[in-house]
């Protein structure tokens, strides 16, 4: 925060120490808190105003002092005052809140992506480098982190109060949230959407590490295979490579470099290829037929888990050319460790 950092720090630290206030552990937290203090001030002023009116009138006009009431019809001026002033204040709340909402829900382009799968009743985090965590999440300080989240069953909600971020984890649809942690330490992860019996057990810890520690952690906890490598294996074993072979005669469109591009579909509409699009195109291919191709792709609904889909999406995302695809076609030995594709995180 720019407004008098010293005072702010003092206030927040003091409140936090007396357990009235959560830690400010992300870049967004001070912004959220500023709005909070504004709203709090509005409430305090409002309540004091109403309270003072009640108290003053009660003292001044109680029956002992004012035995006979004086008739007053009303006052347009006063009505207008207490229509317009609250309205103006509320509109400020709206604009301020909307700006904050923009910030929290539009990840910066350079954010590193981590996938989160929610299911009754655990969180699974999947780092692109292949690190898997359950009910835990390791992130570095000073780097924007985007979470791409999906639920395997019901609505969950991924919440880190100390970062002031939260987003619903929806069945059948990716949702995203981002943050940039500032202070190393461990913080709560809660599932805040009621999701059945063990809802209150669907908790975890996010561990914020300095960049160096984070590097160390990624090296130590890698499973040996990146998500994209898992995806590649799936790509071959599900037979995707038969059609999406990248050759001129292929029956399916070439997937290399497709991520982030604009596609024209058979029905003439243009779409941006992002994670959500890729996932949907695998599950409901007939609604996403690229122009020039026949709707022959079978649906994979119910055949791939959300984790598998994430692997595939990550594979397609990081596929610069069709070299690996052709390799898999030739050797069909996709399960051997392969050198990581360039551009992949760790």
């Amino acid at each position: 925060m720019h407004i008098s950092p010293v005072l702010w720090q003092f206030l927040v630290k003091w409140l936090h120490a007396s357990a009235l206030f959560p830690a400010e552990a992300s870049t967004i937290a001070p912004w959220m808190d500023a709005l909070y203090f504004f709203l709090l001030a509005m409430t305090v002023v409002g309540v004091i105003l109403v309270g003072a009116l009640l108290l003053a009138f009660s003292l001044m006009y109680r029956k002992e002092k004012n035995p006979v009431a004086t008739h007053i019809e009303g006052s347009t001026l006063l009505e207008a005052t207490w229509t317009i002033i609250p309205l103006a204040i509320f509109l400020v709340c709206f604009v301020w809140g909307a700006l904050l909402y923009f910030r929290i829900y539009s990840p910066p382009v350079n954010a590193m992506n981590i996938y989160v799968v929610g299911k009754q009743w655990m969180w699974k985090a999947e780092h692109p480098g292949g690190q898997h965590e359950i009910n835990a999440l390791h992130v570095p300080t000073g780097k924007p982190v985007q979470l791409t989240m999906i639920s395997q069953d019901v609505f969950h909600s991924f919440s880190i109060p100390d970062f002031r971020v939260k987003r619903e984890v929806i069945p059948g649809r990716y949702s995203t949230v981002w943050f940039e942690a500032t202070t190393p330490g461990t913080y709560h992860i809660f599932c805040t959407q009621y999701c059945g019996t063990q809802h209150s057990g669907m908790i975890g810890e996010v561990t914020v590490l300095t960049p160096d520690d984070y590097d160390k952690w990624t090296k130590e906890s890698t499973s040996g295979m990146s998500l994209a490598q898992n995806g590649e294996r799936l790509f071959a074993s599900m037979g995707c490579n038969a059609c999406h072979s990248g050759t001129a005669a292929a029956r399916g469109p070439n997937l290399a470099g497709v991520y982030g591009s604009k596609l024209t579909l058979t029905n003439g509409s243009q779409v941006l290829v992002n994670d959500a699009y890729l996932r949907d195109a695998i599950l409901n291919p007939s609604q996403h037929v690229t122009a020039g191709f026949a709707p022959i792709m079978p649906t994979y609904q119910g055949q791939i888990s959300e984790d598998g889909l994430i692997d595939l999406v990550e594979f397609i995302k990081t596929m610069p050319n069709n070299y690996r695809v052709q390799q898999t076609l030739v050797t069909s030995q996709s399960d051997q460790t392969t050198p990581a594709a360039p551009g992949m995180v760790k």
Binding site: L35, T43, H71, E73, P86, A98, L100, R167
Partner: protein, 555 residues
């Protein structure tokens, strides 16, 4: 007459309860169960909603008891989930929605309009039976093993993942919904068609206005809840897929339909309470409500705008960000009419001649607590803030402030205010003042800590929580105990007063409403002669004049 009260009771030595009144007009249990008299139906409702309030309250007690410690030690987690689900369902659908309209509204609206009954007495009775059927089914769901969906029935959780008695509870709500549709319908027709000669729209008491606004919401909103519930039931039984993402359905569609009702429902809950506050404030300041038309129209404005903001319950749940923006803006607009009301009530006190009987104390409680509750609603309506606060105890605190601090206080204000009219007897004043104060203190102790808990991030519907939240939770539980005592007291002394209370006479508060000009308890047909309204509502000069004349003619 003491200078600190307007209470004006007849001479207790000679006073009697009128020989003929609606209570003793007929005898026997059947004469109650088959009655068409709106006043008797109101009493039936009063008894039944009180019963359900204590059921809901018992669950609240169990919730707070479990949350005394961070560990999940009192009950298993699915039992806890059933607790808050039953607490929510019972409190909302079986207590708060029917509370003021079905008891006080039923009793008073025809009288305030100068009519002999509601337009459709049989439908009114039917409403009560539907309510009872809904209540019985809820109890059945409870006895059979409970439900654990939460009162919001979120799909696909409720449709595919829970094997508790969702269907029973859903049917219960469906039926109770029709009870409230019929109540609303009855009120609207009565208000349009049954007004006494001279009772123009702008001579109606504000209580009638706010019930009218609430009725519109009941009639137009509740059917959407009904269809949403039918779809949930079909999804559960035959797996139709409208809410099932694996079959191409959209689970959020349910929430759109649910909140299309349930947001207006919160105004169904608060508006009649606001009506009570208007009556009480006016009576105890001996003045017409400041800005009568503004207060009347703000009720209608709340009802109208109430239909445009439902998606503020879904801000982070996957609605498009654009529509979140629109709904947030509209949420800010809907908050304004409530502010208008609060300030008009406050200025009603100005230059009044105030006394502080129990109903007035509750009304003051309402104003303070509703202001806090309402303004914290603005926190939630502010998009960015809602991200952090949604689904935490902040929300729990918000809605208890408006529903318990606001509406329940208003309900108690109304019950005390009209108790002499309904029963012919006064409640004991000092005990009731004590109860009001205890309730106020207990309430704040219970729910203020929850705001802090919410900002700290404690999620709602949690059976166990991290130990650092314990202190505030202990405070909250302690408060709930005090609050429980505060609610038990009226139960006891009101029952006591039925037999031993002072005889109230026609108009103990010297209030202006038509209901105060007839005997207490009223006759079955309310008025011997159809009244002719020739003055504004809250015209204390008219009342003084009338009293003077009565004194001269009698004396």
């Amino acid at each position: 007459m003491s200078t600190s009260t307007i209470l004006n009771l007849p001479d207790q030595a000679t006073a009697t309860i009128p020989k003929k009144n609606y209570i003793n007009a007929e005898h026997g249990i059947l004469s109650w169960l088959l009655t068409g008299d709106h006043k008797r139906i109101a009493m039936l409702y009063l008894v039944s909603i009180t019963f359900f309030f204590f059921i809901g309250g018992a669950f609240a007690g169990l919730i707070r008891l479990e949350l005394l410690t961070p560990q999940p030690d009192l009950v298993a987690s699915d039992t806890y989930n059933k607790f808050f689900t039953m607490h929510g369902i019972v409190m909302i659908f079986l207590f708060l929605v029917p509370s003021v309209p079905a008891t006080l509204g039923n009793f008073l609206i025809p009288i305030m309009l100068g009519a002999k009954d509601l337009a459709f007495p049989k439908i009114n009775l039917l409403s009560w039976y539907l309510y009872l059927a809904g209540g019985t089914l809820t109890l059945a769901a409870l006895v059979l093993g409970g439900v654990d969906t939460g009162w919001t029935f979120t799909t696909p959780l409720s449709t595919h993942y829970l094997n508790t008695h969702v269907l029973t509870a859903a049917t219960a709500i469906f039926i109770a919904g029709f009870s409230s549709i019929f109540t609303g319908l009855n009120f609207i027709v009565t208000i349009h068609r049954m007004r006494a000669p001279g009772m123009t729209w702008f001579r109606m008491p504000l209580f009638v206005w706010s019930n009218y606004a609430a009725s519109i919401l009941m009639v137009l909103g509740t059917p959407v809840l009904a269809i949403a519930i039918v779809l949930v039931a079909l999804e559960r039984t035959i797996g139709i897929g409208v809410f099932d993402p694996t079959k191409g359905g959209d689970p959020l569609l349910f929430q759109h339909l649910f909140w299309f009702y349930s947001h207006p429902a919160v105004y169904i809950m608060i508006l009649p309470g606001m009506g009570v506050i208007s009556e009480v404030i006016s009576t105890f300041s001996r003045k017409r409500v400041f800005g009568y038309t503004a207060v009347a129209f703000s009720s209608v404005a709340i009802a109208l705008f109430g239909f445009f903001v439902w998606a503020h319950h879904m801000f982070i749940m996957g609605v498009s960000n654009y529509s979140a923006l629109v709904f947030s803006l509209l949420t800010m607009l809907v908050a304004v009419p409530s502010a208008i009301k609060i300030f008009n009530w406050a200025f009603t006190l100005q230059k009044g001649s105030l006394t502080f009987e129990t109903p007035m104390l509750y009304a003051f409680g309402f104003m303070g607590l509703f202001t806090i509750g309402g303004l914290t609603g603005v926190f939630l309506g502010s998009l960015g803030m809602d991200i952090h606060l949604t689904e935490t105890y902040f929300i729990v605190a918000h809605f208890h402030f408006v529903m318990v601090g606001g509406m329940l206080m208003a309900f108690l204000a109304g019950i005390h205010f009209w108790w002499p009219k309904m029963t012919g007897r006064m409640y004991p004043e000092s005990l009731s003042k004590l109860a009001a104060v205890v309730t106020f203190i207990g309430f704040n102790l219970t729910f203020l800590p929850q705001f802090i808990l919410g900002y700290l991030g404690m999620p709602r519907r949690y059976h166990a929580y991290p130990p650092e939240f314990q202190v505030l939770n202990v405070l909250s539980t302690a408060g709930a105990t005090v609050l429980g005592v505060g609610y038990m007291l009226p139960m006891i002394y009101l029952a006591w007063s039925l037999k031993y209370g002072a005889i109230a006479g026609n108009n103990p508060w010297q209030a202006t409403g038509l209901e105060w000009q007839i005997q207490s308890p009223p006759l079955t047909e309310n008025f011997l002669v159809t009244p002719i309204m020739d003055h504004e509502a809250y015209d204390y000069e008219w009342l003084a004049h009338k009293t003077e004349q009565e004194v001269t003619t009698v004396g």
